[in-house]
Subunit: 358 residues, 4 copies
């Protein structure tokens, strides 16, 4: 319909940034799986704001309360609903915005679609805050996958034009773990320093900057995904574009591969330990929409935070005339690093959905 | 499920490259719309092979026969099934391939998924030939959209590292039309000459080359698409990755935008002729997954044709040992230009699906 | 997936009888519609227990809290989540039942499906209590439909072998309203007295009794529903069987009609006030799965409450041997009268779903 | 959407009675399963007309041609499309009907929904002929289920008020087989004679008569079906109402059970051969929407054939005034016996869909 995805594992998000609560309805989780609440909270904390000086100072308690479907930490089989209370909103910060849509935000399109009915304070249902319930579902999926030997990890591949190292062809669970523990989720801390400098530079100019996230999944069985329109790429992209600010998704060599030749881009098949592997992984672990068993590799383009403090041209919806907008309040100069666990969450949820296919 | 997409307009493709027939089941087309059969055939012909020297010499008659749902050229309301007969197959060309999967193709993953049951001659259900029924559905969608003032057009934005001009910010139906009539679908014929030289160069090396397709839709009403996971981007990407060889999809400034700053990437709002517009269109006509009313712009990365004549390393499935593969038969050194109408077809079908939303 | 239904209006129920809360996730409600909270509560109260001496004495506050999607009583357009807190549970009443499944309940099948993981206290997710969130969604649907001139009403058609009058061929909104206001939802109060006597008789025997609910919808436009498997009957039946204890659904003359002849069962067409009508309504307002514009008529069979106080034969799951069960606690000797508004709720939701079709 | 059903096994029917062809698109069949073409044809023949004197004399060749997804009789994994050519239509018989909708048929509702666009000759997409492609899909499902020890069988439970014996509590595959071989599908041939007399009596009066079909499935594993709205009953009913002329569906004791008391209707649990069984089967093998492992039992009400030769009152659509209709052509005085294999087909398809759930 709108805010949900998945076929066998269906994840439906609800809530507005300044509403009473946000949350997620999850249907299809396999019964009997134990959820490690502390591990889930650690995962949630990776996207929480206020973790370092680069993020908004808004304090949020992203602790989910499970209303249904889980007994004593074990998934029961019936639908799970988890709720995160809202608090610490400063709706007054946004009062001007009801009439003056922020460039680059959904303020205008939500207004045009629902004629002003939707609660758009703080970005409403389109707020980055709505990635918290996505992480509840994805964090659970990650735990279930890990027990089946499947690990999902991501890092910030670039901020502006500053790049981190790429994942090695065969990433390890330990590499994913080490990145997850870092305050700034990169492989190369040196690159991370330069990225953070880039973010600070943007912030000092009252501006923002975009970035790219690389995500990988290892331990995947071959054969996941269906042909044509329900392939692994279709499902992953179809869900990943649901993360606010995502404007591009590519797999394996992606857009770079489109510049190359077949003799370079094709991955030769080999036999390793009695299993078929590929000598390179330009396909990102997917051929014909179906997993090869090699690491799944994807990259996601995150646009610069549209909320910037410099004056911007907009329109007054009431007067239908040009207006100037100066956004106040607290905003991240870059959201790409906070989106890293969200990309992992969505990727894990889609993979679990495919695994639950009969 | 697998080979279908769409919610209100549901398009389900079937068939194998060397099977009896290929076709498409279409449910949800609006009753009463007349289909111009000649216009549909002209659209089909744009993807047909043998149009210029750059394509395979295989002769196919891509003329769809409508078995149901259409009376005297008018859509009745019940499901439409269209069939295209197969002919001119040379399955013997592919006999070796049953045991030696072609690198970059779905041969291996289909084998691993279905344990060898699927008919993979000529690529089977994963063959580029299956884009013909997609074009039947998309060609019909294009006709219906045009009557509502919505036009979809695409061009080959690059081959290898050779680029065409980009679409202007406000493309016209006439521009789309003029590109559609060209033997090589570009804006700049001069760039097109260099692209074709690049394809010939790859062909002479027994190699292939990839490319990027830019697609735009104009005349869209604002408000199409739903938030989060059913946004215009989610649905378009979820379907576009169903086109064989697509490995990346981006909207508006996409991956380039992720390198930039918010002050550059945000599109200022303006008022034009009493309607809200944007001064730039880095969002590609979509904010928060919902259309703004500005032109929708997307780009699709097409990998180099995996079928190349140079010897490649593969494995023998029967012996589970390394093997060398020399692909014979007729193959396009580049498929990106033939995929241009297919990208239009999928884009048009997804847009019509969103328009048919209540 | 499991606990949801609907295509354009999607209703997803969650919660367990003795869990923290129950509720409903609603996606697709039309933006801008005002919800009358008091009217909704009056509707909710119709299914609430403790209304008369025939119902369980369990006190529940079925007041929904809306967490999202509604601002100042108006539907915003984003997903709605409503929660009803649980309280007043006496889980100790059910301690024996974990090992001894109650005949006629889902205790055993839930155990076999989820291997004991699900929270089945008080019937868990299968409890009649879960009809409260269904009524939240259906009550909202009823309000929206009423503004479009569509009214849904139901009455208790029979208890055991005691029957109420049938709806007249053309029921009025006033008739629906008058039944809704009664403590016992019947057309003929005299029949209602005899039905209540039948329920008391069953209760005095520590037994229970089943019943049939007749539901009608008036003011429907013709043309709702799609052919074959998405017809009005398919969608209504597919949802109505989700009400606990429903074991049969029929439309129009239904099973009785199957005993008759075509010359009797066919509804002759007539012209009334410039519109096509039928002289009789044995079709229940549906031909070929598509509404005729005449009143929709359906009947739903509700089995006797399986929780009865007489000793019953069951098995001990731990010992896998026969066991005797004496169910304690509070149970309705008949649930059919409480299910009357639930049938209205589901019917209204399905009709609104069809109306929202593009 | 409209003419399809199923989640993991998706069956989409197409075609019109007097169109070029009818057929079915099947997605999700398990790869590697062999289809016995002769057995499938025998199953198809059970619904074919002209089998005895009670059916229309229209000769149809219901031999499906598989266009895709099957190689050498084995399911490949990609979508299957099967086509049955139309022939032997006498559209002239129906020329009058375009203006005068037949009472009890979808002629009027199709006209109101699609404003006359649909091809309604011979009933169009709503014709009983469209049950042939349903039988192709269901016949394949039956073969796959049988290999897993699951058998589906049905008989004509009643014609008018003449009843066959009911299925025994534990039907055997042999009983199903013996009924399937009969020209008239009943348990008691004596009852069958009286039923056929009833049909002949109706025919002699230029009238028609309805009937009830009882269907059972044995060998089902416990645990199939999901709670609330995706239970086995929801899915079966949601699909069964797609069979033309079906107006009621009940499970187990159904409407009769609603007249009884809990002490009678509850099925006591027992232990048999180390498995939990029930001493009676009033639940029809389903509790809480989930299979118990006991035989699934359902009954389907089929209305009298609406096409009858006696003059009927209708309206002229062009003149919007009353008109008399005398239906010519060949019509079955009863369709219930021909619908027996169709009920089996739908039941088998839904069961296989549930079994394919991960």
């Amino acid at each position: 319909m709108s805010s949900d995805f998945g076929k066998n594992l269906r994840i439906s998000v609800f809530g507005e940034s300044h509403g009473r609560a946000i949350g997620v309805y999850i249907d299809g989780l396999p019964a009997g799986e134990r959820i490690d609440a502390e591990e889930l909270q650690r995962f949630m904390d990776r996207r929480a704001p206020g973790k370092n000086r680069l993020s908004t100072s808004r304090k949020e308690t992203d602790a989910p309360t499970f209303l249904s479907g889980i007994v004593d930490g074990v998934i029961g089989g019936t639908p799970v609903c988890a709720v995160i209370q809202n608090s610490d909103q400063h709706s007054s910060d946004y009062s001007e915005l009801a009439d003056k849509p922020r460039p680059g935000h959904a303020d205008l399109t939500a207004f045009l679609k629902w004629h002003g009915s939707a609660d758009m304070r703080g970005g409403g249902h389109f707020s980055g805050r709505l990635t918290a319930p996505i992480c509840v579902a994805g964090g659970i999926a990650k735990q279930i996958l890990a027990r089946r030997g499947i690990f999902v990890g991501a890092h910030l591949a670039s901020v502006g034009t500053v790049c981190d190292e790429a994942f090695p062809m065969l990433p390890s669970p330990e590499l994913f773990e080490s990145i997850a523990k870092k305050a700034f989720p990169v492989i190369s801390d040196e690159a991370g320093e330069r990225m953070q400098a880039e973010i600070r530079s943007a912030a000092e100019s009252c501006d923002s900057v975009g970035g790219v996230i690389e995500c990988s999944a290892i331990g995947l069985p071959p054969g996941l995904g269906s042909p044509m329109f329900s392939g692994a790429e279709n499902r992953l992209a179809g869900a990943l574009f649901g993360i606010p600010a995502v404007k591009g998704v590519e797999f394996g060599s992606g857009f770079e591969g489109a510049k190359s030749r077949g003799s370079v881009n094709n991955d030769p098949f080999t036999v390793e330990n009695g299993r078929i592997a590929t000598a390179t992984n330009n396909s990102g672990g997917i051929l014909g929409g179906i997993t090869t068993g090699m690491p799944l590799v994807l990259r996601v383009a995150v646009k610069p935070t549209p909320s910037i403090a410099v004056p911007q041209n907009t329109v007054s919806l009431s007067k239908m005339e040009p207006a100037e907008l100066r956004i106040k309040g607290r905003h991240d100069p870059c959201i790409a690093h906070r989106a890293v666990p969200v990309v992992e969450a969505v990727t894990a949820a889609v993979i679990l959905d495919m695994i639950l296919e009969g």
